[in-house]
Each structure stands twice: as structure tokens, then as C-alpha cells.
């Protein structure tokens, strides 16, 4: 209370000790011209307590706990008694809709029913029939720019590559590429709420349109699958199918783009690593596993549903918890010298999360990343990052550089 008897606006909840409050850089809207993986990520581990409170990290400027240790994060991912995934991505809420992401936005037991339905679609065997398409798309893209000598790898490869594959999974014409890319950008990288809302509305309207059309003309695509699929003795509702499509849209595009950006930026800055992979392409899967750890770019949220103490900190129902895979995958208590890239580390990390919500599309993502690296290294001569260009990086829910200028002798 201040002298006038009003509670200060920034008053902390009673269970949050003032000495655990920290400023935090990795918030939607913040930008940096540095490479955040050089120092910024590791500085959090060096200087911050294992669990800290940030006043403005939840979208809309609300507070949340941040848990930076791998072991604590794994425990929270596994704990559906005290934490829920509800509300971890606010898109439907923003436009006043009632659907949840399927499966990412559902808790057990409904989540388990969704995964039982969807897991078989994304196994390595199920994805084999996509393999040739994935490779063809990668080759076509590289051939389109290999004589140029200079590109923005983000715009020319990292964005269109996964979009093209998702268009195939949905059996939509490649001609819709530009439209998809624009919506995806508005959804995940616009800083003002109005643009995000408008993009959400457009994407949902598109999917409702496609669902209507596929009910009449079903095919061999994921939307048609969702329409005919059953959980027990019932079909999925339209809201559930929209949630599934939307989940594919936000999960299958930007995350792959982001990892491609960081991996190829890294290869452009570290000729030794690039040469090692050119000399021995068999190292590529191990390299990708390590780059996924080192550059884990995504954060999601959990909400506490039942009081629990973790490491001396009390979490109360309603508290938001930021799950930064970036921090968990770079925890020095879990990984020796996490700031070093070591292809032979072969470590388990949190890039795909952990527990029952572990990324449904991770086999596809690894496939895409592997094919991309094999194809680019085979078809492009040695490339470098253009050091003269300033690269801005978004520090929000997905840490992504806005450009990756690569140059080579064409």
C-alpha cells in the first residue's frame, strides 16, 4: 500500500519473493543485432536463479515463472497433475473462437486419444512416401539460386521449403505458397495484435473452406484423414479438425524454417564445421542433433493448476510458466560446456519438448533438416555468411534471425 491507500500497480503476488524478479530479454517484440546464442542465452544461466519471475513475458504483458534447468523442465513437462497446456498458444482466444490446438492444446486423456490417432501418420515408415518429394523440393530450390552467388537463405530456402511440404500434406496447390508465407509471417512474427488476429482469422477461414470442400471430395491428404478419423465411436468435430490443421500450420512451418536459418548461418560462420560435413556427410544426423540442441529456438507455456513447490519456489494455481527449450537445452548442469558445438555429443535435449506432448512432427522435421543439409552441401560450393550485413533477430516465442545472407563464388 502507498500513502494514498492504493496498492501499487506492480505489486507482486504474495507467494513471489521480490528477489526472484528478473528482467528478461527473450520476450515478443524484442530484437537484437547480436547472435543471441553467443552470449545472451548462456548469460541467463550464469547470472539468474534456477527459477525466476518475469513481469511481462506472457503474451499481452502478463507475468510468468521462467524455469531454466533441464531437469526441472522435464519434470514439469511430465507433471499433468499440477500443470496444464491449456492456453499455451492464444490464437483461438484472440479471435473469440472455441477450438483448441489438436493435439498440442489438449490435456490427457483426450490428448492421448488424439496422439493414438495421429502418431501413425508421422512415423518414419509413414513418411517414406514423402521422402522423394522432400528431396525434389530441396533440389529445385537450390537449383533456382545456385548460380546467383548471394542469397537470403531465409527467404529463398528456409521459408518456402517446409511450406511446400505442408502444402503437399494438405494436398493444396503450390500456387498458394505466397499466401501461406504471408499468413505465417503475420501469425508468428508480427508484433501488433491486430495483424495476428487478422491472420488467425484468415487461416481459420481457409481451413473451414477446405474442410467443407474435402467433405464432398475426400482425397489422400491430412484434412480428409481428419474428416473420416474416429475417436472411439465418434468423428472429430469441425473445431477439432480446425485445431489439427492450425496446429500443423504453426508447428510444421516456422519451427523448421527457424532451425534451417540457424544451422546454415552457423555453417556460413564456421567453415571448419561446413568442411567436416562436406568431407563426411555421414556426420550430418549427429550434427543436426547437436544443432537442434544448441539452437533450440521455441518456448511454450504451461499453467499451474494445483499448488506445488519446486526448488523452494511455490507455484500457485493460475501461475504461468515459460518453458524455454532454448534455456533447457543449454543448461550447464545438464550439458558440459553447452556453449560449444560438438557433433559427437549425441545428447538428449528439449528442442522437441519432452513427455506426452513431445513434438508429433519431429521425425518429419529431422527428415527435412537432413535432406536440406545433404542437398545444399552437395549442390552449392563452400558458402560464407556475408559479414557486412546486419542481421536482426526476433527474441520472442521463437528465436529467429530475420535474414541469413549467404555468399559464395558462383
Amino acid at each position: 500500500m502507498n500513502a494514498l491507500g492504493h496498492a501499487p500497480v506492480n505489486l507482486l503476488p504474495d507467494h513471489v519473493p521480490a528477489d526472484l524478479v528478473r528482467p528478461y530479454t527473450f520476450v515478443l517484440g524484442n530484437l537484437t543485432s547480436a547472435n543471441p546464442y553467443d552470449r545472451m542465452v548462456h548469460d541467463v544461466h550464469l547470472h539468474y536463479p534456477p527459477i525466476f519471475w518475469v513481469k511481462d513475458v506472457y503474451p499481452g504483458g502478463a507475468p510468468a515463472w521462467v524455469v531454466r534447468r533441464f531437469a526441472d523442465m522435464r519434470a514439469i513437462y511430465a507433471d499433468d497433475e499440477h500443470f496444464t497446456v491449456k492456453g499455451f498458444a492464444p490464437f483461438a482466444m484472440l479471435v473469440g473462437d472455441s477450438w483448441d490446438l489438436v493435439p498440442a492444446g489438449a490435456d490427457a486423456p483426450l490428448h492421448d486419444a488424439y496422439r493414438a490417432l495421429l502418431n501413425p501418420l508421422f512415423t518414419p515408415v509413414a513418411l517414406k512416401k514423402l521422402e522423394e518429394k522432400v528431396r525434389t523440393v530441396a533440389e529445385r530450390l537450390v537449383d533456382s539460386f545456385k548460380d546467383k552467388g548471394a542469397i537470403d537463405f531465409r527467404e529463398d530456402f528456409a521459408v518456402p521449403f517446409p511450406v511446400s511440404i505442408v502444402l503437399d500434406l494438405l494436398d493444396l496447390p503450390q500456387a498458394r505458397m505466397a499466401e501461406f508465407m504471408e499468413w505465417e509471417h503475420s501469425l508468428l512474427h508480427e508484433l501488433n495484435l491486430a495483424s495476428i488476429m487478422s491472420a488467425t482469422r484468415k487461416v481459420v477461414d481457409m481451413f473451414r473452406e477446405i474442410i467443407k470442400e474435402r467433405r464432398v471430395n475426400p482425397g489422400d491428404d491430412l484434412v480428409s484423414f481428419a474428416i473420416t478419423a474416429q475417436i472411439g465411436d465418434r468423428h472429430l468435430t469441425d473445431d477439432e479438425i480446425v485445431g489439427f490443421c492450425f496446429n500443423l500450420f504453426i508447428g510444421g512451418l516456422d519451427t523448421v524454417t527457424t532451425n534451417l536459418c540457424w544451422q546454415f548461418r552457423r555453417l556460413g560462420e564456421h567453415p571448419g564445421e561446413q568442411q567436416a560435413l562436406r568431407d563426411n556427410p555421414a556426420l550430418i544426423p549427429d550434427a543436426i542433433q547437436e544443432y537442434l540442441r544448441y539452437f533450440s529456438p521455441a518456448s511454450t507455456f504451461r499453467t499451474c493448476t494445483k499448488e506445488i513447490e519446486i526448488g523452494g519456489v511455490t507455484f500457485k494455481p493460475g501461475d504461468k510458466v515459460l518453458m524455454s527449450t532454448t534455456l533447457g537445452s543449454n543448461d550447464p548442469e545438464q550439458f558440459e560446456n553447452p556453449e560449444e558445438v560438438r557433433f559427437d555429443r549425441r545428447a538428449t535435449h528439449l528442442a522437441f519438448g519432452s513427455g506426452i506432448h513431445h513434438c508429433l512432427g519431429h521425425h518429419l522435421a529431422r527428415r527435412e533438416l537432413t535432406v536440406a543439409m545433404q542437398t545444399v552441401l552437395a549442390r552449392l560450393p563452400e558458402f560464407r555468411l556475408d559479414q557486412s550485413a546486419e542481421i536482426l533477430t526476433d527474441l520472442g516465442g521463437v528465436i529467429q534471425p530475420r535474414s541469413v545472407p549467404l555468399i559464395w563464388q558462383a
Partner: protein
């Protein structure tokens, strides 16, 4: 309590006690056996808990179901997901080996 013996890629052997009915994945993760990740917590999705079953034990395991099969098709022969192998009295002493990497 029944035991399972995990041989790592470097040849070291770890004996782990596994209660009847518990999966080898869970027991291995609880015992911090290197190389068994179990990223999805046993929901048959991530394929990061692969083990190779030693000769003499393979035939005593229940058959591989379709979903598990589609996750291990490219793995070495006699591979199972350890989240799909539950300890039972007849599996006491089972010998398995852990691959160098779960990711490739």
C-alpha cells in the same frame, strides 16, 4: 526384484532392478542409463528408447505391434522400443544393448 542388464555402446554393463510390469525404458531413465532418452515418456512416438535384444531373449517378448514396427523398421535386427517391453517373471535377467545414438 527382477533385473535387466544394459550394455552400452562402449561395452560397459549396467544392471538395473525393474519391478514386474514396469517398462525397461522407465527403469533405464530412472537409473540414468546413458543412451536411453525416452523423450516422449512412453507414448510410442519419439523412438528414442531403442534397445537391441540379446539372442535367447527375443522370442520370449510379446510380438511387435504395428505402430512400434513403423518406428523401428530401419533399426538393427532384434530392436525393440524399451517403452514397449514390460518386465515379467520370465524376463528376469534380460540382456539388451543400447545404441551409440538414438538419433540417426
Amino acid at each position: 526384484m527382477p533385473k535387466a542388464i544394459f550394455t552400452l555402446h562402449d561395452g560397459t554393463r549396467h544392471t538395473v532392478e525393474v519391478p514386474i510390469g514396469e517398462t525397461l525404458m522407465k527403469a533405464a531413465v530412472n537409473a540414468d542409463i546413458p543412451g536411453i532418452a525416452g523423450e516422449c515418456g512412453g507414448s510410442v512416438s519419439c523412438a528414442t528408447c531403442k534397445i537391441q535384444i540379446a539372442n535367447g531373449w527375443w522370442d520370449r517378448l510379446p510380438p511387435v505391434e504395428e505402430l512400434e514396427e513403423s518406428l523401428i523398421e530401419d533399426a538393427v535386427p532384434q530392436t525393440r522400443l524399451s517403452c514397449r517391453v514390460c518386465m515379467a517373471a520370465e524376463l528376469d535377467g534380460i540382456e539388451v544393448s543400447v545404441p551409440q545414438s538414438q538419433y540417426g
